[in-house]
Subunit: 276 residues, 2 copies
Amino acid sequence: MNEKRRTIFFISDGTGITAETLGQSLLSQFESKVEFDRQTYPYVDTLEKAQQVRDEINHAEQRDGMPPIIFDTLVDPQVRDTVSSANGVMLDVFQTFLKPLETALMSESAYSVGRSHSVNTHRGYERRIEAVNFALDNDDGARIRYYDQADLIVIGVSRCGKTPTCLYLAMQFGIKAANYPLTEEDLDSPQLPGLLRKHKSKLFGLTIDPVRLQAIRAQRKPDSRYASSHQCHFEVNEVEAMYRREGIPHIATTDQSVEEISTQLLATTGLKRQYL
Amino acid sequence: MNEKRRTIFFISDGTGITAETLGQSLLSQFESKVEFDRQTYPYVDTLEKAQQVRDEINHAEQRDGMPPIIFDTLVDPQVRDTVSSANGVMLDVFQTFLKPLETALMSESAYSVGRSHSVNTHRGYERRIEAVNFALDNDDGARIRYYDQADLIVIGVSRCGKTPTCLYLAMQFGIKAANYPLTEEDLDSPQLPGLLRKHKSKLFGLTIDPVRLQAIRAQRKPDSRYASSHQCHFEVNEVEAMYRREGIPHIATTDQSVEEISTQLLATTGLKRQYL
């Protein structure tokens, strides 16, 4: 028995993403103190599947000598009762929050199996896919003639995190973000490239610690001028000077997750997030 | 005053993604009954920002004639108290779940401001970015020589949803997914293309309702043979026959969100999700 190692179950009748997101966020408050062994069970929407999961939980309890922790978003009462009869500690999202929410909204909730996870409407789906395609089509300065349609144009030196940021903004928020790599040539000029100047209000700059940039570039092209310390320092210095000179809002991506970069970008630009 | 229209606040000292994900999931249980006006306030980590948000909530309450609903993941007690002094109904994620979790884990939580949202470690970040780059480099059959390194190869006809699925798997789970479009030529042959046969155990098929496919293709290339009813029906029939003949696991993407497709794909293949 190891008190510092616990099994975690994320269980849902849908994708399990809500249970996972919530659970991960809560568990991060205990990191470094307890080690977690995580498992997700999506689409638990029949009694039979519920019984299987119950057996899995009991098995883990036997093995660990400690009750597993269960984060669930199950709406069917029979399914939920079956899972909750296992030897685990159950943190039930709907059970906990739906009652106070019904009271506050003076309305009954749907409580239909799987309903909770069909948040993405057809319209929402199309909007996100359209935004992802936009990000791909307008990646890395590949095309610039659609900048009129862009909600945002992310700029920065090569390998500072532009593409993942644009894709995340598209996928999560339905935002159409193009991106344009600032090259040495662009940086040598005292002015913003003309094609960017036209869209100045849409520009958002990323920057990065030059040492980190060097490490990333070296993985891609070892021993190149491109990945040299001198080149990375030069480009980052120049790009930051340009942002300041032109008054372009910008943030550093170093040590930040794509979620953090995207959230800061939204907060800085005031771009509206879509609730899809 | 409109009882069927309510203002929703997602408030966090981090990105707000946990509060949003949880809140959206709960609110979807009331959709069609109540209309929601949603707002997210990330990085509320000072007393000053907390006071601003409190004023916003009170303002919304005045305007709506009904108390707003607040989903929060605030850890700092002073910040949280300030927000909770507003005229709203507060559903507090940490307050609600951290105590039972501390008891179950026999350990105290960190409760450090912002900590809850730094789930993405450096290692996790790199793994995701690497997976996103892999998906981009191996998109649409662009390259096949890295299929050895792929966790998964998603196949299907053009515009059935392969690229967004691969990108989501990369971003969310750090899975390296290549994708390969099955063309008419591939479908005419009685056998799987040779380059796919070698990696048969990694193949996963997507399919789609031909009428829906037609609509998607028509947006891209109106009045083309590619978007014709006949062509779409032909390709979908052939591809589904191939999946059955070759025993390739597959799902239909019609009317499903990227999250749902990805979750089903993981469940069907048994591919391990990474908790990043």
